[in-house]
């Protein structure tokens, strides 16, 4: 999965491989990331995109999905 900007800094990672049990739902992904070093600084409900679309925490993942964790956007 992909991490960006401040979240990539927090975890020291721009990409992360997910273990099978974390790749079931968006909430499982967030729980897994929160257990990594620095992951405790993630907000309670970070924004997650799957295949370039924002999804909710209960979104189920499928093999091949592109999962991304998105910090607060600051374009413009």
């Amino acid at each position: 999965m992909l991490l960006f900007a401040r979240y990539a800094d927090l975890l020291g990672l721009a990409t992360a491989d997910l273990p099978i049990e974390a790749a079931l739902s968006v909430n499982a992904v967030i729980d897994y990331l929160r257990g990594l070093p620095g992951g405790e600084h993630l907000p309670a409900v970070p924004v997650v995109a799957v295949n370039h679309r924002q999804v909710r925490g209960d979104h189920r993942l499928a093999p091949g999905d592109e999962v991304a964790l998105l910090p607060p956007m600051a374009g413009g």
Partner: protein, 150 residues
Amino acid sequence: MSFLSTEPLDPASLFERVLASSRGAVTSFLGVVRDHHAGRRVTELDYSAYGPMAEAECASIVAEAEAAWPVSVALAHRIGRLAIGDLAVAVVVAGDHRDEAFAACRSVIEAVKRRVPIWKRERYEDGTEAWVDPTAASGAAPVAEGRLTS
């Protein structure tokens, strides 16, 4: 159609594109890098993006505005290292009437700020840096995080 560019933006080309629509009312919004933010002196900044999603969101925002109003919309956002005074974002809208041209232009820039996965890292005159968080009270990340990757 690419909305993100690592090269300096060229607003004239965006104006030309929407002027070809023969509509009478043209509005624009340009965002320029300022030398201060949240009370601190900014010396430069770096925009990064989740490229494929950012392009898709920009395309959606333009399509939604052109569906909501009888307008033609051109949009561009610069990515990479920007200096003070550089153009960060440009929205140009042509409509038949000024009501819809103003409404669509405002709507597009608000949507860009809210929905497009682009992040801004500011560098300050004391050498520290911070990710800008428009959802935070101060508009910037806490100073304590200022040296995370510097």
